[in-house]
């Protein structure tokens, strides 16, 4: 059985409140915050990017798994905000965790679901015994155009999963749903993404998340009552609850993974960070259903059964420890950190 041998998360320390962003653009902070169900979002430090976030998450995953990094035969980095347009981040991560050089690596792009596509690739490679362990990472430092709705949610963070044959949680199966739906995109060399506003909802997020989730439940013959936690992609606080309700999940099954009110949307990190938060507290024999969503558009759904091993192998660097360790900044410092002020650079 393919299994999660270990995982790691990383969320930068800085936070900006939704009210602070609303203040700058003359918007009603209460209304924005309530509508998105986001109180504050994480901001990368001046010297952080998707590479550094991925490396921290990857190192935490190696530490948690106890795996010899030389046994990691593949690293896949999923992101929509890579530091280079050409030059893989995966090879930097491989060097930083000392998995290189006898291994394969690549960066993957599928908006917010590239990281879970990486998990599926690692499942295939480990199950066929082409490699002993594979690592999939989802990490982003996403940008929203100043004043655009996305600026209130676009946050920074990431998660890394090491996939092997035996671990703390077995992956019972996966099911994907993919169509050509252009709801959110960014053209080459454009700084900010564009989106179809309301079009990102029903035909995009809801259609794909429900189709992948129902497809997987039918394939594995699962009922709602067989599932203890539902972890959908979290672009904001309201979409996960709404899609969960449509599928018939009780709110209690969604809340443990719903961290978006405190960190914002970590894009490629989103559903994987949520899964990590659930694994931090899950007990043996509990079943987790995670469904990612990437614009453009597709969803990957996974059924994950927690094993007895989790009790003796709890992850000490919990998601909550990263959420609690925070420092608030105002919009001016945020603008400097995110290089929104012309001429600001690192050399």
């Amino acid at each position: 059985m393919t299994s999660i041998a270990g995982y790691g998360v990383y969320i930068p320390r800085y936070r900006i409140k939704i009210h602070e962003i609303a203040r700058v653009w003359g918007a009603d902070g209460d209304r924005v915050s309530k509508g998105l169900m986001i109180n504050e979002k994480s901001v990368p430090g001046f010297d952080e990017d998707s590479t550094t976030i991925a490396v921290e998450a990857a190192r935490n995953a190696v530490e948690h798994s106890g795996v010899n990094p030389k046994d990691i035969g593949a690293i896949y980095f999923g992101s929509e905000s890579p530091a280079y347009s050409v030059k893989p981040t995966a090879s930097i991560i491989a060097e930083a965790i000392e998995a290189s050089p006898n291994m394969t690596a690549a960066d993957i792009e599928f908006a917010c679901k590239a990281g879970t596509a990486g998990i599926q690739m690692c499942m295939g490679l480990t199950k066929s015994e082409m490699i002993k362990y594979g690592m999939a990472i989802g990490a982003d430092t996403s940008q929203g155009r100043p004043g655009d709705a996305l600026e209130y949610s676009a946050a920074a963070g990431g998660a890394a999963f090491i996939i092997g044959q035996r671990g703390i949680a077995d992956i019972e199966g996966t099911f994907s749903y993919t169509t050509d739906t252009t709801d959110f995109w960014r053209r080459e060399a454009e700084e900010f993404p564009s989106h179809g506003a309301r079009f990102t909802g029903q035909p995009a997020y809801f259609k794909h998340v429900t189709s992948a989730t129902i497809g997987l439940m039918e394939r594995l013959d699962l009922e709602i009552r067989d599932i203890d936690y539902f972890v959908p992609h979290q672009p904001n606080g309201s979409f996960p609850l709404k899609v969960g309700k449509t599928l018939g999940f009780e709110t209690e099954k969604i809340m443990p993974s719903l961290k978006v009110p405190y960190i914002g949307n970590t894009y490629s990190g989103s559903s994987m960070v949520g899964l990590a938060g659930v694994l931090d507290v899950a007990k043996p024999n509990e079943r987790i259903l995670m469904t990612s969503y990437g614009s453009g558009a597709g969803s990957d759904s996974f059924s994950i059964l927690v094993t007895d091993l989790i009790e003796e192998k709890r992850n000490k660097k919990t998601l909550d420890s990263y959420i609690k360790d925070k420092k608030y900044i105002d919009y001016a410092i945020y603008a400097k950190f995110k290089r929104k002020i012309k001429g600001v650079s690192m050399g």
Partner: protein
Amino acid sequence: MAVKGLPASWRKIPQRYNLIGDECKTCGERFFPPVTICPNCRRTGSLERYKFSGEGEIFSYTVVRAAQEGFDFQIPYFLGIIKLKEGPLVISQIVDSDPEEIDIGKKVKTVFRKVREDGSDGVIRYGYKFILDR
């Protein structure tokens, strides 16, 4: 466009990413950054690759208010002399910390950060920095 000076920085990746230095098997002393010969044992020394844990404490520090080029937008920032658990002293930035938290003797650990960008079209140099071990 061709860019010069890449090999020197590329060779330093093991030390910058993973704090790889040397240990002399003859006298037991550990060195960071790596050395070409053990200064204690000279020709009788026997150097082996050694990975430092990244844990240490603040030996001394200063607040930089007039930055060198490339660090202009980070002032004021902390530049520390860190005493690694295994012995050697290293100079590094201490990041993500407030002035009232920083002090001599405080425990620190490494993080992986961007150190420099060679303009908007050049190489991004990554490496270790330190944060407080809270």
